[in-house]
């Protein structure tokens, strides 16, 4: 049986923490609040059924810094920013870095609950698609023309030997190219490679 999801709150304003806690608990979630990003990082252990309401402007580590720190540590906790001092560039940056949402204070109570609900529904939070696509395209761009050609043939399921014959090069050369492709695309298996290429529509579905 699954327990109720946890909503973590990180906000240096005690009054905001208290009122958010009350609101969110009344909606049936468990709440765990912290007064600083540092405090949260020290106490957080990975919870796959949770989200984080995060203030931006705080003494010490800011909310945006905490978001990046979580990414660095590979925590896939959905982050909803709630801030009184947000602007468009800040919101764009936060969402591009994978934030689930960005809310300006003052907010409607129902709005907060809706965003929490949405964030929890979309678990596990993936790094934002378009950023992932950019990243993959960047890796593809680092390939030489020959490597790209061989990558496609690999993804089509062709064996090294077949590729060697079709391109009229030695099998050893194919192996070298193949290793470079895997390295530049940062994948360890052919399955991972195909998955990546599908994500940027580099491969048309058969």
């Amino acid at each position: 049986m699954q327990t109720d999801p946890t909503v973590f709150i990180v906000d240096d304003d005690e009054a905001v923490c208290d009122s958010l806690s009350l609101l969110i608990e009344s909606a049936g979630y468990r709440v765990n609040s912290f007064a600083s990003a540092e405090d949260f990082l020290q106490n957080y252990t990975e919870d796959c059924n949770a989200c984080l309401l995060l203030d931006i402007r705080m003494p010490g580590m800011s909310g945006l810094q905490l978001q990046k720190e979580l990414l660095k540590r590979n925590f896939t906790l959905p982050v909803i920013f709630i801030t009184g001092h947000g602007d468009v560039p800040m919101a764009v940056d936060a969402i591009k870095w994978g934030a689930a949402d960005f809310l300006l204070k003052p907010f409607l109570e129902q709005d907060v609950l809706d965003r929490i609900n949405d964030a929890l529904k979309n678990l596990p939070q993936k790094f934002h698609d378009i950023e992932l696509q950019h990243e993959i395209s960047m890796r593809i761009a680092r390939l030489t023309r020959r490597e790209a050609e061989i990558m496609i043939m690999l993804a089509e399921g062709k064996a090294n030997k077949v590729i060697a014959i079709e391109l009229d090069i030695s099998q050893r050369t194919v192996e070298v190219h193949r290793a470079r492709v895997m390295e530049k695309m940062q994948v360890r298996s052919l399955a991972q490679l195909v998955q990546l290429l599908m994500q940027v529509n580099y491969l048309s579905p058969q």
Partner: protein, 143 residues
């Protein structure tokens, strides 16, 4: 192709599309992108852009949100449905946080408010052009 010249070549072969209803802004964007050797095609609305799309090899799209007919956000959705990977920068006078969030979630590569700072816009466009030019140039090699 000499790989040392790659960035230069990419820029000369890369084309950007601009969708902007306001003529003065449209012209100034065209001038701005042409000044760094990008090919530019401009449109007044999304419908015209979409009907011209099949014949184009584009690296990047710069679009206003407030358009007559299909708006910029709906256009991004439509491009996604068409499986068209066209990095789109929203350049808009709608400087609203929730719209910006919506745009990035929908898949916009960036969201820049008007009035814009030219170097900031150019920088973002060039980043996209350098990332995507290879896959565009070699689209013929895709299976």
């Amino acid at each position: 192709m000499n790989s040392a010249d790659a960035s230069l070549v990419d820029r000369q072969t890369a084309a950007v599309a601009v969708i902007e209803p306001d003529k003065i802004t449209r012209d100034s964007l065209q001038f701005l992108f042409e000044s760094i050797n990008l090919k530019v095609v401009t449109f007044t609305d999304a419908e015209h852009f979409l009907s011209a799309l099949p014949g184009q090899t584009l690296t990047c799209l710069i679009s206003e949100i407030s358009l007559p007919g299909i708006d910029g956000l709906a256009l991004i959705e439509q491009l996604k449905q068409m499986n068209k990977l066209l990095p789109t920068i929203i350049l808009t006078r709608q400087n609203d946080v929730s719209i910006a969030v919506q745009a990035i979630h929908a898949g916009a590569a960036d969201f820049i408010e008007k009035p814009f700072v030219e170097p900031v816009l150019l920088n973002r466009v060039l980043q996209i052009v350098s990332k995507f030019s290879y896959s565009e140039n070699t689209s013929g090699e895709k299976p």
